[in-house]
Amino acid sequence: MQAPVDYLLHLADNALVLGQRNAEWCGHGPILEEDIALSNNSLDLIGQARLLYQHAATLMGQGATEDTLAYFRDVPDFKNYTLCELPHLPLMSATACGDRDFATTIVRNFLYSSLMVLVWDRLQLSKDEQLAAIAAKSLKEVRYHLRHSRDWLVRLGDGTDESHQRAQAALDALMPYTSEFWVASAQEAAAQANGCGLDMAELRADWNTIVDAALQEATLQRPADSAFVPTGKQGVHSEHLGFVLAEMQSLARQHPGATW
């Protein structure tokens, strides 16, 4: 049995886009250890993306490779959660600019890792054997990502007034984007139907348990659920993804097929 290609791309795009975002900290980490930690986190995510793209490319045939999928698709083709593409900044409007906010990075990594420990755990049972194999590896990695982001979440939330306020602001800004996790897209429904995917709604209670326990320890308030549902996994993205892709893809597009 094979997972629908679009479902593999959804999983791969999440990992690639968040991996690319976290790599923005490379050389700019608040301390050396965190610079290294976030780079290692990116390395894992981009590694997972590569395995998923390679699998998708094999199923697609017709000259598709991991590189054509990562570098030669455009914004509407990407199926990642909107959460993964947002900048490391509290929400701002118009031309406001700011520095990278570590609390935003940590809160996002925490919300995403808390989901993916559950997703990869379930996907180990996928009827697509290659996807199940990738899930088994990814689960081991995302456990460390969750441990890392959760520890920092508690440290920031239960830290100084400044770190608490920033962590709370990041949580308030990012939590609404998690509503996208639970509404099945066409590719998720197709994957679930052929036994290669899962029912995301079933993970919601466990995800809430993980998140609420950590927020309590971090003395942070969970914002109320809102009606907003992002649509990144359907290819309708925020204004931010185009900038991420422009930076990530420009070199490959200027020198197609280049090797070294």
Partner: protein
């Protein structure tokens, strides 16, 4: 009496000497990366398994395998196999001892890590706790974690509170 080795046996002997590009004191076989050498439909096949998904050493390892065999006149195809997922539990006792002597604390066992969402939730809840890691220099268990991620994705950074030396800990995977 002379014994004739099969091509696969000859390849094993050659690959036995290949060390990990990042941790040169242990071999690929001891680390559990080198899984199998077999006769495939199109000739010799060497099966390797990646450690971390994004391990940047995998390309180097593939090249090393191919060039080592090519130097002895053997052409081989390198096959990357993901399942069963690599685990630090495959590391031999000899390899653990070599790591320790090299200054890296060897990984704790992780075979007991269960799957299933109840276990995932439980793992998340107790994530702050870590098992005591012994200092590879002085053997003390009075150590503290400086960072979850060390010089490579597979290691964490620790510090010994007795001899004060910083050291790497090979994380269970």
């Amino acid at each position: 009496m002379t014994t004739t080795l099969t091509r696969a046996e000859q390849a094993w002997q050659l690959l036995e000497g290949l060390s990990d590009p990042e941790i040169p004191v242990i071999t690929l076989r001891e680390l559990g990366i080198l899984r199998e050498v077999r006769e495939g439909a199109q000739g010799l096949e060497v099966v390797i398994t990646p450690t971390y998904s994004g391990c940047p050493a995998m390309g180097q390892i593939e090249d090393d395998v191919r060039s080592t065999l090519a130097a002895a006149g053997l052409q081989a195809k390198v096959v990357t196999q993901l399942a069963p997922a690599w685990t630090t539990d495959w590391m031999t006792e000899a390899a653990r001892e070599k790591l320790r002597a090299y200054g890296i604390a060897p990984p704790h066992a992780c075979a007991s890590e269960k799957t299933g969402s109840a276990n995932v939730v439980q793992f998340a809840a107790r994530s702050a706790k870590t098992e005591a890691v012994h200092c590879p220099q002085c053997g003390s268990s009075n150590t503290t974690e400086t960072s979850h991620f060390g010089s490579t994705a597979c290691k964490a950074l620790y510090r010994c509170l007795d001899c004060m030396e910083p050291f790497d800990y090979f994380k269970p995977y």
